[in-house]
């Protein structure tokens, strides 16, 4: 290696970006070469001067406030208003369709949960496409360990999971994507016997509901019904 090569490496060395073997070679060279050592010392002096003269800055409070404010009440406000109006119409429609019974109340809660999840920052608590990351994330947060599968190879990638509070208990919500659409899967243990699947459509949202021997599932999305049923089929087979 030439002297110029060593000099070129000094920056990477001081930045901690040099491979260990190269770093050792450079150190050996620096111990012998006055010129390179002087170069290094000038760089160290520069670093100290930068520290002294070029401070990191603190965002002004007014800017911080503007961003927090804007986020909640400007961008957030519009989607919130749209989502809220959808929620009222959708929930109202749901109740018209099903006059009584626990299932209707749950349908309301599930649909509201889905709409709320679409607001900025609400979609996932754990963001991962890895079922082996999402499933353990629920440990200690739920009294059951929900089955989690990724269907990325079928065009329905797992995006993450979050906790929801439905029917007086914390439940697992799994989030899947399909192009620009989000699919929420809410599931919790059930001992009420198998049922479904049944499909309902309200204000552009499809809600599928079915119960296995172990779990009751709610699947909500604005995805087309045919695709959502395809996804549902994957979910049922994956068990």
């Amino acid at each position: 290696m030439t002297h110029a090569d060593f000099e070129a490496q000094v920056d990477a060395y001081l930045d901690g970006e040099l491979a260990p073997a190269d770093a050792r070679a450079l150190e050996a060279h620096l111990s012998q070469c006055v010129e390179c050592a002087r170069f290094r010392d000038r760089r160290l002096a520069l670093r100290a001067a930068i520290k002294a003269q070029l401070p990191t800055l603190t965002a002004p409070d007014v800017l911080r406030q503007r961003i927090v404010h804007k986020r909640r009440f400007n961008v957030g406000w519009r989607s919130l208003a749209i989502a809220a109006s959808l929620a009222v119409v959708a929930v109202g429609g749901w109740q018209l369709g099903f006059q009584s019974g626990a299932g209707e109340m749950l349908g309301d809660a599930v649909l509201t949960s889905h709409i709320r999840s679409l607001m900025p920052g609400h979609l996932t608590d754990v963001q991962s496409s890895d079922q082996h990351t999402v499933k353990p994330w629920f440990n200690g947060k739920l009294d059951y360990s929900p089955p989690v599968f990724d269907f990325a190879d079928r065009g329905y990638p797992l995006l993450g999971g979050r906790l929801e509070y439905i029917d007086g208990r914390s439940v697992a919500a799994l989030v899947y994507g399909r192009r620009q659409h989000m699919i929420n899967v809410l599931l919790w243990p059930s001992d009420r016997g198998t049922a479904g699947p049944s499909a309902k459509t309200r204000q552009g949202y499809h809600v599928l509901h079915w119960t296995t021997r172990d779990y009751t599932y709610w699947v909500v999305s604005d995805l087309g019904l045919a695709e959502l049923q395809e996804f549902n089929g994957l979910l049922q087979q994956a068990r």
Binding site: A8, D11, A12, D15, E17, R42, R43, A45, L46, R47, A49, I50, K51, Q53, L54, P55, T56, L57, T58, A59, P60, V62, L63, R64, R66, I67, V68, K70, R71, V75, P120, G121, L123, Q127, S128
Partner: protein, 156 residues
């Protein structure tokens, strides 16, 4: 991760970058605000898991917002691509213009200023700087080296 948890902890870093790149207080504030709105808009695309992922992601958006702003400014904006050769080491300068480091930094081309701020002030790795600026690691290294040489000359 929530949007707030990803972006809000890095507002100072974002502001520092924008302030040094624009050299202007009001523009820096506008850019960081604009970048935070863009970050919110594109948050679904964020796939990171750690705080430094969030920092690099948000700083990328800030940096791009600066370049967009620069194009609107016209004077600062570069119509042509940054020419690595033109900014090689042997450019003559008026020594009086570089009395202190801040002035020397402000006098550097945007492409040099950003690597100095990202590396020296914010401690990003070469790989992270490469991600934020969209140039190869080798280019990051050579820009850093030449930028430091210029600053060095201001000191001596």
């Amino acid at each position: 991760m929530e949007f707030a948890a990803v972006v809000l902890p890095h507002l100072d870093a974002a502001y520092t970058l924008a302030r040094y790149l624009t050299r202007n207080e009001a523009d820096a504030q506008d850019i960081v605000q604009d970048a935070s709105l863009r970050a919110l808009k594109y948050f679904d695309g964020f796939r990171g898991t750690t705080a430094s992922d969030g920092r690099a992601w948000f700083l990328t958006i800030v940096r791009n917002a600066v370049y967009t702003w620069g194009q609107r400014q016209g004077s600062e904006g570069r119509v042509t691509e940054f020419n690595e050769e033109l900014h090689s080491d042997d450019v003559t300068r008026d020594p009086a213009a570089t009395v202190d480091l801040r002035a020397a930094l402000d006098a550097l081309p945007l492409e040099f200023r950003e690597v100095i701020v990202l590396r020296e002030l914010q401690g990003l790795s070469y790989k992270e700087i490469s991600d934020v600026t969209g140039v190869p690691v080798g280019t990051v290294m050579s820009r850093l080296s030449r930028a430091r040489k210029r600053l060095q000359e201001a000191l001596s």
